[in-house]
């Protein structure tokens, strides 16, 4: 490292910046997600409930049971809801065109890949094919 980098050369930041950044990153994300999950109540936007299988009428009883559900509820808001919908079933409504088809296609592809990799071999043939379009 050049001498000019000063105090940073000897610290973890100087020696291995990627590791240091990863540490800060993980800590910050943990903080953010905790804040999101621990925020009281259902929040102002419970659209995620539609994708999670709960209908509009059941909103008052919408009590997320598990941590993954709670995380999904807080993350699938606003645009994310549109991306997730488009990833599942392609574009249906005109306004969905405002949300990158490339990105929702990527989401669907990653989901398919993860399912493919984690599902046992003998049930793979039974996986639904995601349709775009």
């Amino acid at each position: 490292m050049e001498a000019g980098k000063g105090m940073y050369s000897d610290s973890l930041m100087g020696r291995n910046p990627t590791v240091f950044l990863l540490l800060v990153f993980v800590l910050w994300k943990a903080l953010l997600i905790s804040l999101a999950v621990l925020s009281p109540g259902l929040g102002y936007d419970t659209s995620a409930g539609i994708i999670l299988g709960q209908t509009v009428h059941q909103n008052s009883q919408l009590q997320p049971q598990s941590l993954p559900d709670r995380i999904a509820l807080t993350h699938l808001r606003w645009d994310a809801f549109y991306f997730a919908g488009a990833a599942q079933r392609g574009y249906v409504y005109e306004q969905e065109w405002a949300f990158s088809r490339t990105y929702s296609f990527l989401m669907a592809a990653v989901k398919d890949c993860t399912l493919w990799l984690t599902v046992p071999r003998n049930t793979r043939c039974l996986l639904p094919r995601s349709s775009m379009g």
């Binding site: 490292m1 050049e2 000019g4 980098k5 000063g6 940073y8 050369s9 930041m13 100087g14 910046p17 990627t18 950044l21 990863l22 800060v24 990153f25 910050w28 994300k29 953010l32 997600i33 999101a36 807080t74 993350h75 699938l76 808001r77 645009d79 994310a80 991306f83 997730a84 005109e94 306004q95 065109w97 405002a98 949300f99 990158s100 088809r101 490339t102 990105y103 990527l106 989401m107 990653v110």
Partner: protein
């Protein structure tokens, strides 16, 4: 989640980018501060949730880093050759992919536009060197990739809505039939450069 992964990649790329463009005596500090700021970005959960933001950020920074490599190696070599072409075309591809993910990636094209415009006086006076001409061509090609990425999704939309029946949607008959601007205006009352936006909403 892919958003988190791409946010982290974006942070690392920004670190490299900041290191590359700052003066050697400052680069450690600037790179450190900028990448940490990017981690604790006010965008917050948007960079973790399934939004296009973090992927866009990564691709944009990668495009900038590749462009910086192109110009820095050009300066070191004193010439614009095939490696520089490769760098700048890959930069165009990165920006193009960014534009596919979020259409305001088009604005990254201003980096290329600036370079080309800088050479316009010399081009007009026919005093352009081979080196500069080569660079201009490569830059234009890279810029064309971005433009293509911006237009293609809208072309698909046009094909789906307007080809069979021009009257099917109001935006089909515009001079530039762009689904993006119409959808933003109609569904979300977002007007591009319209100071009367609030009145539109009320009336």
């Amino acid at each position: 989640m892919i958003s988190n992964l791409f946010h982290f990649i974006s942070v690392v790329v920004l670190y490299r980018l900041a290191s590359a463009i700052s003066k050697p005596e400052n680069s450690g500090k600037i790179a450190f501060i900028s990448s940490v700021l990017h981690i604790i970005s006010p965008a917050g959960v948007f960079l973790s949730a399934p939004y296009a933001e973090s992927l866009f950020s990564t691709l944009n920074f990668v495009g900038m880093l590749l462009y910086v490599h192109a110009r820095q190696t050009e300066r070191a070599l004193g010439a614009w050759k095939v490696p520089q072409d490769a760098y700048i075309l890959c930069s165009g591809i990165a920006f193009g992919l960014a534009t596919l993910v979020r259409s305001n990636g088009l604005l990254s094209g201003t980096i290329f536009l600036y370079d080309v415009l800088q050479l316009v006086p010399r081009t007009v006076a026919l005093k352009l060197s081979m080196h500069d001409a080569h660079r201009t061509l490569a830059t234009c090609a890279a810029g064309a990739i971005i433009a293509l990425a911006f237009i293609t999704p809208q072309a698909f939309a046009y094909q789906q809505y307007c080809m069979e029946n021009e009257r099917s949607r109001p935006w089909c008959r515009e001079l530039i039939p762009s689904i993006y601007s119409w959808v933003q205006e109609h569904y979300w009352s977002v007007y591009i450069a319209d100071e009367c936006a609030q009145t539109h909403d009320v009336l």
